[in-house]
């Protein structure tokens, strides 16, 4: 119940240069565009962005990269048909890239939020993405050791929120929101509507309010 209601600019004001930021969304679905736009209006740079993709077209994350605000991207799928800003920054050497398999990215973020110190996964065993990582054969199968991801801030988009910070999502926009909300010092959520406490069925809540720090209504 320490939820803070804010507009987008107030909400992102605490994201400082050098911060790590989890950014929700799979492509544009679930991408917190209003929050990213607000972050663009600050002077925070040297950011580490953890997100599934590295921006699409000339909006959101792509602009953050285009404006050289990002030092490093940790993601599973940077290269897309419309990722020209990422592509250019990467080829120019203006950007560091860590490619992580999508499921491992999700699991590392979950581990960060769940207080797990690290885990062994079969994903990427025997591939270049396991290079330099600890490996272990468990029950006859090769596994790679992966470490948790936590960040200074998470910026996510949900559908509805209540004044206790409980969140529900809409269709495939749910993607990274629920796990990113758990893995940041400050979780900033953009919702289409903020409802009174008691408006959401407790059986339907996907992200309990304990994870939500700042909420921005953006219809």
């Amino acid at each position: 119940m320490r939820l803070r209601l804010a507009d987008a600019d107030e909400a992102v004001a605490d994201v400082r240069s050098g911060s790590s930021v989890l950014v929700g969304g799979f492509g544009l679905a679930g991408q917190p565009v209003e929050l990213i736009d607000a972050l663009l209006r600050t002077d925070a740079d040297d950011l580490t962005i953890i997100s599934n993709n590295a921006g699409n077209g000339d909006t959101g994350l792509a602009l953050l990269i285009a404006h050289d605000r990002v030092r490093k991207v940790i993601c599973s799928f940077p290269r897309q048909v419309d990722s020209w800003h990422f592509d250019a920054a990467f080829r120019d050497g203006r950007l560091e890239l860590e490619v992580v398999p999508q499921g491992t990215l999700a699991e590392r973020i979950r581990a960060g939020g769940a207080g797990i110190g690290g885990f062994f996964t079969p994903t990427a065993y025997g591939t270049p993405l396991a290079d330099g990582k600890e490996v272990r054969v468990i029950d006859g199968r090769g596994h790679v050791f992966e470490t948790p991801i936590r960040a200074d801030a998470a910026m996510i988009k949900a559908h509805l929120g209540d004044l206790a910070g409980n969140l529900v999502y809409r269709k495939t926009t749910r993607n990274f929101g629920p796990i990113m909300a758990t893995a940041a010092e400050t979780t900033i959520v953009q919702v289409s509507k903020v409802l009174p406490v008691g408006s959401l069925d407790p059986e339907m809540v996907v992200t309990p309010g304990i994870y939500t720090d700042v909420i921005v209504e953006s219809a």
Partner: protein
């Protein structure tokens, strides 16, 4: 000298120390009683590790629903803004450091903040740990609520726990009938005394070095 605290007064004292807006887990037994003294204006949200945030008071007659229980398996109620989740998600809340405070009972607490509360170590005892170890490592602060001495008069604050540990270096405060103690980096500070003098406390807690009462108020 203030009188010794009974269980109700102790529960009231702990309740008054929980900051506004906290997320709290109240352990089975004595800590459960704290919820009776949490005023709604404090907007404190209770977590129960069997899968709920926003737990309300114990259910009375017609409210009792066997599908809605707390970690002590007592029928409880649901407050507006509640949420249900499964066990892995519930313990992710605990272990992930998202709870502000866990209040638990204890058999022993060491001067370094080690907690022993799940096992007497007797060879014929049946061990049962539940969520105590997860709470001990996970909550940002672990408070203990207990009597300061056993029925036979032995201190429960000890230089080193003789009972099997629940967690290392986790207890930050002890609320007891005789004293409120703050534990920080191996230093035990006396915050308040009830029905016992500092000198007597020191002599009964042999081997535990006590710092004098902190000057900077109750919420230090």
């Amino acid at each position: 000298m203030k009188p010794t605290l009974d269980r109700e007064a102790l529960a009231r004292l702990v309740a008054g120390d929980i900051p506004h807006g906290s997320y709290v887990n109240l352990g089975i037994g004595q800590p459960t009683q704290i919820s009776d003294f949490l005023s709604p204006e404090l907007q404190i949200t209770l977590h129960t590790e069997n899968g709920m945030l926003g737990m309300g008071p114990a259910a009375t007659a017609e409210e009792i629903d066997p599908d809605l229980i707390n970690a002590g398996k007592v029928a409880v109620t649901e407050l507006p803004g509640a949420a249900y989740f499964h066990q892995a998600d519930s313990f992710a809340i605990m272990r992930g450091g998202h709870l502000d405070i866990a209040v638990m009972g204890a058999l022993q607490v060491s001067a370094g903040g080690d907690l022993a509360n799940w096992h007497t170590g007797e060879p014929d005892a049946i061990p049962a740990v539940g969520g105590a170890m997860d709470l001990a490592v996970g909550a940002r602060q672990t408070w203990v609520m207990m009597t300061l001495f056993t029925r036979s008069g032995k201190p429960k604050i000890v230089p080193q726990c003789s009972y099997p540990l629940t967690g290392e270096y986790c207890v930050t405060r002890v609320y007891s009938d005789h004293a409120v103690l703050l534990i920080n980096d191996g230093v035990v500070t006396v915050r308040e005394l009830f029905g016992i003098s500092h000198a007597e406390l020191e002599s009964r807690l042999h081997g535990v070095r006590l710092s004098p009462a902190a000057r900077h108020g109750r919420n230090a």
